[in-house]
Symmetry: C2
Subunit: 153 residues, 2 copies
DNA sequence: GTAAGTGCAAATGATTTGCAGATGT
DNA sequence: ACATCTGCAAATCATTTGCACTTAC
């Protein structure tokens, strides 16, 4: 979805390590969708174009790209880790009712960071973390159900 | 560390399900230390007293106690999930330098919850989540190192 | 040419599951 | 008595590792 970004990522990759099929394909896959993808998703994606790429290589490449600062990952609740390009801080609101993953407004988390620094000297470094809860739709649904239950006895 | 709490937990357990050796031992272990324990830690602990209790039973019991609302768990970064008694909201600040797990002041997270509700209608339900960063000590150390590096050329 | 990267298969760590038998209420 | 729990072993899911071979630079 962003050819220019992909090119600059490849440039950064070349500056910090070797450009290989697996790494190029991973960056391409990650820059073509702004979803949060699991290693398995990415493996499928890469293998569609290059069937020879092994799952282990996916994991090793993801680790390498992470060390180079090109990508990042988060642990959303139980399942596998999700990866995405390192494009500045953003945080995940995970709806436990419908599974939606919402990008949270940055400002709210800036306040959190400032609050923690003031309160206990803790410096937040993770630029990605997940908060579980209910999205607006599911929250309203739950509220409606409660009301119905109350009137129904 | 809190016999009264343990008794009330067992009472709550009896009200919602069966009181078994594994469940009792788990609650006892969890109420005797306020650490965050992995399932494996707890298994060791329980098996010290009751060697016959199987690992699978630990997981099933933890799941059951969670459904009853008596305990909760969080995923701290990579490793296994950590469990603790459900004693009101508290959040984890994990220092990625020294591994310390700090209990965060509740107020900061109340602000976060309110902010998310106002900004996008998201209702935070998880009463436990982890934020990665650097504790005061490690943050100061890192700052000092930066300063030293600058003067050192 | 050479170190870095890869394929493969097998190991690991955490957690889950099917089923037959034991146990709490 | 009867559903609920448990023990066991094996399955599963996500990820890692050792080693010989290949490739990017």
């Amino acid at each position: 979805m962003n050819e220019a970004r992909l090119l600059s990522l490849l440039e950064a990759l070349r500056a910090k390590g070797r450009v290989t099929t697996a790494r190029r394909a991973l960056l391409e896959s990650l820059s073509h969708s702004d979803r949060h993808r699991t290693a398995e998703d990415l493996a499928d994606d890469v293998r569609a174009a290059f069937p020879a790429v092994h799952r282990a290589t996916i994991y090793r490449s993801l680790e390498a790209l992470t060390e180079m600062g090109l990508i990042e990952h988060t642990h959303l609740g139980h399942g596998p880790a999700v990866y995405h390009l390192a494009e500045g801080a953003h945080h995940h609101l995970v709806c436990e009712a419908c599974g939606a993953v919402i990008e949270a407004p940055a400002t709210v988390f800036e306040d959190l960071s400032r609050g923690l620094r003031l309160a206990c000297g803790f410096e937040v470094t993770s630029r990605h973390f997940a908060v579980m809860g209910r999205c607006r739709t599911c929250a309203e649904l739950a509220a409606a159900r409660l009301t119905a239950g109350r009137s129904g006895g």
